[in-house]
Symmetry: C2
């Protein structure tokens, strides 16, 4: 995935977390976090319990309680693990292509059935620990995406003082807004439209770090 | 308020719902919905119960159970009542001014303590009835905001085939994205930045109903 939450779990070709070399401890963590994802995706936050996670993971309840303590602990660790990958935004050769690819990844993650991304965002409205973990994950994802803007500046597509974060949020926010808040059906053209609109804005001088004195 | 959820409750100068002429039934509804807002703002969805609402409203429990049935029924009615006002977007004389005013209203509603807007959005992740009610409310608010775009077209600020909804979402989504999803501190310049960026995009030809063939 993208600037958004959990990428890899929705894509079976990449492991959900970087598997550290061997070790029973790391194996148990992988089993438990895989079980959290499955429970969260299938049943949602309300039904998430340490007992159900332990049973699905095939791990002793006592181990899960000792190491993760409660549902907040499980979600925080899941979010940390999700950020612990080597995801990078695609390099398509153009700003518009890069932003559209990012939006398509986000759309796929948010409309997967079940969507772990959507479930984690929903959980962040319930659990302070999930909210903190998700904030760290978003921050990391947007930071990784800044290369999209620096590449475009380097290619001469954008003025040098473009505010990368502001451009990235303009390009990605409409999709989250429509799918998660407005709950409109995901229109096929939404990822490309939002990317195109952000590129038009950026090349016309929006998102500059000191905005033009434009007081009309 | 704005394109967003509940406006008036955050502003004591306007009544939270249009008070229909007299009647015990409408008086009870007003008392109950005021109590729902207060409970939701102070305690959140998890603590919202019909008993607490009845006690705070000073209305018989049996009446509340008979008329609203459950928490979902209360939230759905609150959202309907919230939409039943005469809110209109401000007419400042310019597209940028109108969009900035809208964003400032949204920022105020989302950062009020307590914020009923934020509480209702959080509830929509929990309750299907709240989600449906909120979707109707957003739809109504964005429809009312389309006059911002038609006024700008009429003034010659925008090309005639501008997609009003797409422009409005581009102008308003970044603020919701940052406050509710990324949970970044609300920067003072955010409402104006998002409005300015959307105006730059729109005047440069973004948001047109048939987008330019731009396949770079």
């Amino acid at each position: 995935m993208p600037s958004a939450p959990p990428p890899s779990q929705d894509d079976p070709s990449t492991p959900p977390i970087r598997r550290r070399p061997g070790g029973r401890t790391s194996r148990i963590r992988t089993q438990v976090l895989d079980a959290v994802r499955a429970e969260l995706g299938e049943r949602g936050y309300d039904e998430l319990t340490l007992d159900a996670v332990a049973a699905r993971a095939g791990v002793h309840r006592a181990t899960v309680y000792r190491r993760w303590r409660d549902v907040g602990g499980l979600l925080a660790d899941l979010l940390d693990a999700t950020g612990d990958d080597d995801w990078q935004p695609q390099d398509t050769g153009s700003l518009r292509g890069d932003l559209a690819a990012l939006n398509h990844e986000n759309l796929a993650a948010l409309t997967a059935r079940p969507s772990i991304a959507a479930a984690l965002i929903a959980a962040s409205f319930r659990s302070e620990e999930a909210a903190r973990g998700l904030r760290r994950l978003w921050e990391d994802r947007y930071a990784r995406c800044e290369v999209i803007v620096s590449r475009a500046v380097h290619r001469g597509e954008l003025p040098p003082h473009t505010d990368a974060r502001r451009l990235l949020i303009a390009a990605t926010a409409p999709l989250y807004h429509q799918l998660l808040l407005l709950r409109t059906p995901p229109a096929a053209e939404l990822p490309d439209h939002a990317a195109t609109d952000a590129v038009i804005a950026a090349t016309a001088g929006a998102f500059v770090t000191s905005p033009p004195a434009d007081d009309d």
